[in-house]
Symmetry: C2
Subunit: 123 residues, 2 copies
Amino acid sequence: MKVDREWSDGLPIYRQLRDRVVAMMLDGILKEGDPLPSVRNVAAEYRVNPLTVMKAYESLVDEGLVEARRGLGMFINAGARARLLEGEKQRFLEEEWPKIRETIERLGLTPDDLLRARRGKKP
Amino acid sequence: MKVDREWSDGLPIYRQLRDRVVAMMLDGILKEGDPLPSVRNVAAEYRVNPLTVMKAYESLVDEGLVEARRGLGMFINAGARARLLEGEKQRFLEEEWPKIRETIERLGLTPDDLLRARRGKKP
DNA sequence: TGTAGTGTTATATACGACTATAACACCACG
DNA sequence: CGTGGTGTTATAGTCGTATATAACACTACA
């Protein structure tokens, strides 16, 4: 499986890794009680330093979303999804969305532009 | 005028400076033919290193949006706004918006949530 | 001519993110 | 018990961002 050409943005890798795990939790790919992919595995898969993965996982521990059991792995806490959903919702609406809305207005983009933006390119 | 506490995000300052100038161009605050605020002034105003401002302005020169006249200043090129608008539109729709849309769906946010997000907080 | 404004370049320093390499600590299981 | 999986920590080096300080090059204008 090819997993190259990630990390294209200007965001730190550990931040992107954290976000990716969060996305998997929200999408139900990782359920509560499940173990996270091991630090070493992720590091190898994505050709990234183990410490970088650790840093990403640490932030999840700090948020109280996962728990580390030495010698076993990192496991998703009960209630993680609900808490995460609420927190991310609020953060998105209060911090990201206002900027996005401003950009949209500045560029003069119509709802129509935004809706037809996924599939076919500009006709 | 207080201008403290900027640069709160995780984006490099020179990137944020560049984006701020671009926003002013799109909003019509800076018109074509106008000079950009001088490197030294911006550096002093925002309490930032002149080289950091230079780096931001350099990227605008590289994009062909402004032109540097030694001893005079940096001036906005003719046609800059139109070209900028088109470029930013495309970049936003192709690179940013898909991710944003994904996040919105993942969080289960409704159009209603997004519309009422500016003024009054959650009722 | 000189002065004050502009962009431009040079040197050195600091810090954070990321990497490479290695070792340590713990647990399940045969 | 050992082996192989897990998380964890340590040391050291690279690179990009940003800093401080200083000097250089050019232009308008009095």
